[in-house]
């Protein structure tokens, strides 16, 4: 397979950030009250991710190892500010709906995670495709969760009447409120547990969840982002 197509496949299916790696859970829960919001958040993350991957990959030989995290954060925060102003100018209603979660893309672990684990080690073109793949995977995840919540909670499909067109249909409003987000994600995780088991039986195990949902900071591949140390390093320091 072409290495660029492989990057896209990796981001969308094999290491899908929402369903397989379970990264970026704060925006996943917060903005998926409708499919449009999920799509908007996913696409803004995609734009930031593509450009941050590109810039970090271009500068990877210039940035000293010791200050790489602050350097990445400055790059990502600048891009997020640009995206935020573009949205305020051209998509004011979406920008209002997403609110504080747009600037919070800065601390989305997908972006710093890809910077640390991919863009800082690979060339710019591959990094762009990695960003597109991961971004599309994240957009897909958010849109699907948003769609489920919107159909059940409001009876609409991307804002158009869907189930609500049926006479006597009462939407389960709790699904577009805060508890619904936790509930949908819980069933999603349970569903992924079944798929995970089936794939393991087939001999093709899925990638393990990488983020905080695994609840194991010591062995988390991303712990360098939170602690500035690589996995396992803190144990040695204490000893």
């Amino acid at each position: 397979m072409n290495k660029y197509v492989e990057r896209l496949y990796n981001g969308v299916i094999k290491e899908n950030p929402t369903f397989v790696l379970m990264l970026g859970m704060c925006p996943t829960l917060a903005v998926t009250s409708s499919a449009i919001n999920g799509l908007g958040m996913g696409l803004s993350t995609l734009v930031v991710l593509v450009f941050s991957n590109l810039l970090i990959s271009l500068f990877r030989k210039v940035i000293p190892n010791g200050v790489r995290m602050p350097a990445y954060i400055v790059i990502v925060a600048s891009l997020v500010t640009v995206v935020q102003f573009l949205m305020q100018a051209y998509l004011p209603s979406l920008s209002k709906a997403l609110g504080v979660y747009i600037p919070l893309i800065v601390v989305n672990c997908i972006i710093l995670g890809r910077a640390e684990s991919y863009a800082s080690k690979n060339g710019p073109i591959e990094s762009i495709f990695d960003g597109i793949g991961m971004g599309l995977g994240f957009t897909m995840g958010l849109t699907i969760i948003g769609l489920i919540r919107e159909i059940l909670g409001a009876g609409t499909f991307f804002g158009l009447p869907f189930l609500s067109a049926i006479k006597g249909f009462t939407p389960i409003t709790i699904f577009i409120m805060a508890p619904g987000a936790f509930l949908v994600l819980a069933f999603l995780v349970a569903g992924m547990n079944i798929i995970r088991k089936k794939m393991e039986a087939k001999g093709k195990p899925l990638a393990e969840p990488a983020g905080c949902l695994s609840g194991d900071c010591a062995h988390c591949g991303q712990s360098a982002l939170c602690t500035g140390k690589s996995a396992g390093a803190s144990d040695q320091e204490q000893a």
Partner: protein
């Protein structure tokens, strides 16, 4: 100046009614990741209270006196657009500084909070509080009260969750729901319970 009534309203509103985890979804990562035992959850909650209270004060100072300085704004220099970049860097530096300071001068407090401090840099609740203070146009005192009570809301949520998770250990849960899934279901029920407070304000 803000009256005491306003401050109490901000405190109750952000700690209980609009709970940072259960209704605003900030700080989900530590909420799910570090809530296995009550002691560690309380340690994490304490560290978050400590950092958010200090950071909301510092970021408030920087915003009022540097970024949105009336003298500079009058001269046509409006730096408020830099707030996301400045806040995240200040928070990252602050966390490092607090860690070093505690290690040196308060070893006993460092023993209990130290492990959790570095994890807080990427906790979106800290940046979220700093940005919300600007959005809601809070003054310094209101900002600090808002920061402290938001973090206290986080403390309540994570300690409650840890208490429930300790009990869940002994329950017979369907195999597919073991682990994260049942924790999310618990979070859903807690969130429904906290919705009951929404009539208070």
């Amino acid at each position: 100046m803000s009256t005491l009534a306003e401050l109490v309203l901000i405190a109750v509103g952000s700690a209980i009614v609009n709970n940072v985890v259960l209704s605003q979804f900030l700080g989900i990562c530590p909420f799910l990741g570090v809530s296995k035992k009550t002691e560690t959850a309380a340690g994490m909650g304490g560290a978050v209270i400590f950092v958010i209270t200090i950071s909301s004060f510092i970021t408030g100072l920087i915003y009022k006196f540097i970024l949105a300085n009336p003298f500079l704004v009058k001269k046509g220099i409006d730096l408020t657009y830099l707030k996301t970049i400045v806040f995240i860097l200040v928070i990252a530096a602050l966390v490092q500084f607090v860690e070093m300071f505690l290690k040196k001068s308060m070893p006993s407090l460092y023993q209990s909070l130290g492990v959790y401090l570095p994890l807080i840099t990427t906790n979106c609740a800290v940046l979220g509080v700093a940005l919300n203070c600007v959005t809601y146009d809070y003054n310094l005192l209101e900002g600090v009260v808002y920061g402290f009570s938001t973090a206290f809301g986080f403390f309540i949520a994570i300690v409650l969750m840890a208490g429930i998770r300790e009990k869940i250990e002994y329950n017979d849960i369907p195999k597919t729901f073991r682990g994260t899934a049942i924790v999310l279901i618990t979070a859903c029920l807690m969130s429904i319970a906290f919705m009951g407070f929404s009539g208070m304000i």
